[in-house]
């Protein structure tokens, strides 16, 4: 059943692409209906599978000569991420209600991107996974290059080049694995069962891991993320931060770590106290957490603040994965969901609700507009999203972060402390943005001492309210009752290769 998420999205994209310039209203309503159908299918699949193991979705021979199958299946991790994709898709369309330029094409690209993302999360055959992964890159490029803003050509090109470089690394690793195993299959489970020589894993693992981690925004390969997020139109930023970065983290776990778990073993020697790829990448992740937060603290562009915060939050995901503990990986998967929802909400406030009314993202300019009074709705939403994003209990981010921190305490105690510092800086940058934009308290008087009235802006529209309710509600629901997702994630993580849950200990 879950396969229909893919088909629906691509079919919707196709319809919008071939339709002669139908009205924009038709395009957006149609796209919304397609996305809602996808979400409904994802939700139905999520509920019907319950807390069980992987459910087979489809299995057909595709290129039999090469042993390539069209195999789709969904374990708990995939089901959670499919649900996230559905949420992000619906919210993204709700927040793109005002796109009026080439509307049909915009939503066609949007749905194609969503279809590719669904595909990645459901693929079991690695070739298929790679195909969907590539499919997702192209619409991303066009969404930014055509409908983007600040330095859009640069942002789009940088994003595409980074993505392709990452894919190339992944491809090399996968082909090498295919050749080494010689089993004429690209099936993930078959390949994962093959005992690759440790020396092979030692170079294949970092190659594939970094290839995927680029898209997850791992420091120092993160620089595409802030520029890309800023250049992208709102809906694309929401998708980029919300689900595309998750593709990277998902690939790290599902492909790199599952296929080559011995790549995480110690090298046998140590350099500056670092003795394995695992420590190297965990260090990168922790640097990303603190660095992303610190840079977000000094940005003057509202969207850059959120862009860098994504780098910081994705660092927590990667750190969680590398703890190699049940609790840490649980937390990482939950953080993927949580950040997907919250980054979407934050970009929606910045890009759609505030920017489209004020036409500025400069914090200094925004601080003079008395937005706390002029847009109480936006202020309230940003307060909620900001609180959730800084990891306040009651929202999804807290449950995820506390698990990652616990996992990190087991594996890298010092990194846990540093990550804690990152969380404090996270409080600070969210706070600073909140203060500057919505509660600056600047006296409302002009240069001549005259009173400046509270500016009036277009009223908040129903798609915005619906989108906010959808995303904020999800975060709150998971924050208060995390079992909804954790009960599904935990068994799926337990089913991962044993090596990944023992922290390298025998």
């Amino acid at each position: 059943m879950l396969a229909y998420t893919i088909y629906l999205s691509f079919a919707g994209a196709l319809v919008l692409a071939v339709l002669p310039r139908a009205g924009s209203q038709f395009a957006r309503v149609f796209a919304l209906l397609v996305a809602i159908a996808g979400l409904a299918v994802g939700l139905a699949g999520f509920i019907s599978a319950g807390t069980g193991g992987a459910v087979a979705v489809a299995d057909l021979a595709w290129i039999p000569g090469m042993g390539i199958h069209y195999t789709l299946a969904a374990d708990g991790i995939s089901r959670v991420l499919v649900l996230l994709t559905g949420l992000a898709a619906v919210a993204g369309i709700l927040f793109s209600w005002t796109v009026s330029e080439r509307t049909n094409e915009f939503f066609a690209f949007f749905l194609a991107l969503i279809g590719g993302v669904y595909g990645v999360f459901l693929s079991v055959d690695l070739f298929l996974l790679f195909v969907f992964y590539e499919i997702a890159i192209v619409p991303k490029y066009f969404l930014i290059a055509i409908w983007g803003s600040t330095r859009r050509e640069y942002g789009a090109m940088k994003l595409a080049l980074y993505s392709f470089a990452g894919s190339a690394m992944v491809l090399i690793g996968l082909l090498a694995a295919y050749a080494t195993a010689g089993a004429h299959t690209m099936d993930l489970h078959t390949l994962a069962a093959y005992p690759f020589p440790v020396s092979f894993q030692m170079w294949a693992f970092p190659l594939v891991f970094v290839g995927f981690a680029i898209l997850a925004g791992m420091w120092p390969f993160h620089t595409w993320a802030p520029t890309g997020h800023v250049a992208a139109p709102t809906a694309a930023s929401m998708l980029l931060a919300g689900v595309v970065m998750k593709l990277g983290a998902y690939g790290c776990l599902r492909v790199a770590m599952t296929l080559f778990p011995h790549g995480l073993d110690p090298w046998g020697f140590s350099l500056l106290g670092i003795g394995s790829w695992r420590t190297v990448f965990a260090l990168f992740a922790v640097i990303g957490i603190v660095y992303g937060a610190a840079v977000a603290l000094v940005q003057n562009d509202f969207k850059f603040v959120i862009g860098y915060s994504s780098v910081s939050h994705m660092g927590l995901v990667l750190l969680g994965l590398l703890t190699l503990t049940q609790i840490g990986i649980d937390g990482a998967v939950l953080q993927m969901f949580s950040h997907g929802v919250l980054a979407g909400l934050l970009f929606a406030v910045v890009g759609r609700i505030v920017y489209e009314r004020t036409h500025t993202r400069d914090l200094n300019a925004l601080s003079k507009l008395q937005l706390g009074r002029a847009m109480p709705f936006a202020a309230a939403v940003f307060v909620i999203a900001g609180m959730a994003s800084m990891g306040l209990p009651g929202f999804s981010g807290f449950v995820a972060e506390i698990q990652v921190l616990i996992g990190a305490w087991y594996a890298f105690p010092w990194f846990a402390v540093v990550a804690g510092v990152g969380i404090v800086v996270g409080v600070a940058y969210t706070w600073r943005a909140l203060q500057r934009v919505f509660f600056s308290d600047l006296p409302a008087v002009g240069p001549g001492g005259e009173d400046v009235p509270v500016p009036r802006y277009d009223p908040i529209t129903w798609p915005e309210i619906a989108g906010v309710l959808l995303l904020a509600g999800s975060s709150l629901l998971i924050g208060v009752y995390p079992r909804l997702l954790l009960d599904v994630i935990t068994p799926a993580v337990q089913a991962l290769p044993h090596l990944l849950l023992t922290g390298g200990r025998p």
Binding site: I327, Q403, L405, A416, G420, R483
Partner: protein, 506 residues
């Protein structure tokens, strides 16, 4: 199994949700909600019984992946704090007559804060305890930020940042404790500490960090109470907050810190605090004496009573640290008696100070209403002539704060000194200075405001209306009642204290 405590905690949230949209009727609605909560809390407190055990216990699995239970309970300590929180919230709502800007939001935030207080005082698992701990912080911040005085912006930020740093320290410490023990349940952690297993577990899993974890927990509470030198946020916050909100801050929120020391810090890390008892006692004495001295040199009534609050809660800290004495082994009846007296005094003092401080700030709202916001000590004098009832009634509250026998404040301070003197006579002796300075401060206020020459502008100073008299009368009667019959409270507090002490190990 009952869900009484959950219902009590949710009640204000429901009230808040309705008040948000009630517009001008928000205050009446909040008043009804808070009265219902007060009646409910009173009933709970009356039904706790005299066994010293937890009553109204609720337990159910919440996040099984983390082994976290939803665990609530109320004993003589928690139940009394529920009553105090409900009482102070009611007083604060009654005192918020002048809120005209966005009343819906204001009263919704006050009720949300009440819910955070209820949750904090009943939660027995760190996971949701922390949720409520933070939940109370957010409304307090916005109440200051949006309705405060002229310099509310920096004051609110300072308040938030200080408390947040303390919170992160708390969080990291408890995450570390979880890694060492696999539980976040206060009762289980207390048991591990009482059996002497906890230090060993921390040593094995984390290394020699027990003292650091103890300090992390202490920091969280030291900021909240506050313990000098972590008090610097307080004067600006108390004086910039709307006076009704200051009632909540000093009357109820400061008790969260003391409560945390009694419920979390001492039971779990008593052994560690016993090792650093001397420096802690020095800080507590500093808080008592310097707090009183700072109150003596202030010129603004709100600041005077802000520092006076620091001084009054300093006695609680003094007694708590004095109790943490390494026991010579075996049960020492005299030692045990002193510890019991000191803790009885602490808990009684929490209630009495909450009542008295909130009442004094309540009278300040009457004063500022009549003076147009002016609360400088210098601008008043001779009010006894035009407003004898106001002066007489406020005098009762002031003398209660001074510790006059026959009023509530005397009993608790006497018990604290009765207990602390045998345990730490040097500290207790120096702390007596604080009593003297406080007496001087209170008498100065009485002299400068009530007595002396009456300035021209206050000749027509309106006395308290009948309604105002009726509103404050029950609170003043309660002060008198508790001064004459402290056993009304001690009857439930004393068994709870004995039960607590039996489970602690220093």
């Amino acid at each position: 199994m009952s869900s009484v405590l959950t219902i009590l905690t949710i009640l204000p949230i429901i009230g808040a949700a309705v008040a948000l949209f009630a517009g001008a009727r928000a205050r009446a609605l909040a008043m009804v909600t808070s009265l219902a909560a007060l009646a409910f809390a009173l009933w709970i407190w009356l039904s706790i019984g005299f066994s010293g055990q937890m009553a109204f216990v609720e337990r159910s699995a919440w996040v099984p992946a983390l082994g976290i239970e939803y665990h609530l309970g109320a004993d003589g300590l928690g139940g009394l704090m529920l009553l105090l929180a409900a009482l102070v919230t009611y007083m604060a709502i009654d005192a918020s007559k002048r809120v005209t800007a966005r009343p819906g939001l204001y009263f919704a935030l006050v009720l949300l804060l009440e819910s955070g207080l209820f949750g904090t005082f009943t939660a027995l698992n760190f996971f949701h305890w922390f949720l409520f701990w933070e939940l109370s912080l957010i409304p307090a911040f916005f109440l200051i930020k949006l309705w405060g005085g002229e310099k509310r912006g920096p004051a609110a930020t300072q308040f938030f940042v200080y408390t947040m740093v303390g919170s992160v320290a708390l969080l990291l410490s408890f995450v570390a404790l979880y890694v060492a023990t696999g539980t976040m349940d206060f009762e289980e952690l207390t048991r591990l500490a009482a059996w002497g297993i906890l230090p060993g577990l921390i040593q094995t899993h984390l290394g020699p960090v027990a003292l650091w974890l103890a300090l992390g927990v202490l920091l969280g509470f030291a900021v909240k109470v506050p313990l000098m030198p972590f008090h610097t946020w307080l004067p600006a916050t108390y004086s910039e907050a709307p006076t009704a909100v200051t009632m909540l801050l000093t009357g109820a929120m400061s008790k969260m810190g003391v409560y945390g020391l009694l419920r979390l810090a001492l039971p779990i890390f008593g052994h560690e605090y016993a090792q650093i008892r001397t420096p802690l006692l020095v800080l507590a004495v500093l808080t008592v004496v310097a707090g009183a001295w700072a109150a003596a040199v202030q010129k603004d009534l709100k600041r005077i009573f802000a520092y006076s609050s620091v001084n009054h809660l300093g006695y609680c800290l003094l007694a708590i640290f004095a109790v943490a004495i390494p026991s010579p082994g075996g049960s020492d009846a005299a030692l045990n008696l002193s510890q019991t007296a000191a803790l009885d005094g602490v808990i009684l003092q929490m209630f009495n100070h909450g009542l008295t401080a909130a009442a004094i700030f309540w009278f300040l709202t009457f004063l500022e209403e009549r003076s147009g916001g002016d609360l400088r000590l210098d601008s008043f004098g001779g009010l006894r002539k035009p407003a004898p009832i106001f002066c007489g009634l406020m005098g009762i509250a002031l003398f209660s704060s001074l510790g006059l026998p026959g009023l509530n404040g005397f009993v608790s301070e006497f018990l604290i000194f009765r207990g602390a003197f045998p345990l730490a006579w040097q500290a207790a002796t120096v702390a007596v200075l604080g009593l003297l300075i406080t007496a001087a401060v209170i008498l100065t206020v009485i002299q400068r405001v009530f007595l002396g020459p009456l300035p021209e502008k206050w000749i027509a100073f309106p006395d308290l209306t009948r309604g105002e008299q009726l509103a404050v009368a029950p609170v003043l009667a309660l002060m008198l009642l508790l001064g004459l019959a402290p056993n009304l409270i001690l009857a439930t507090v004393n068994p709870a204290v004995m039960h607590l002490l039996a489970g602690w190990r220093f």
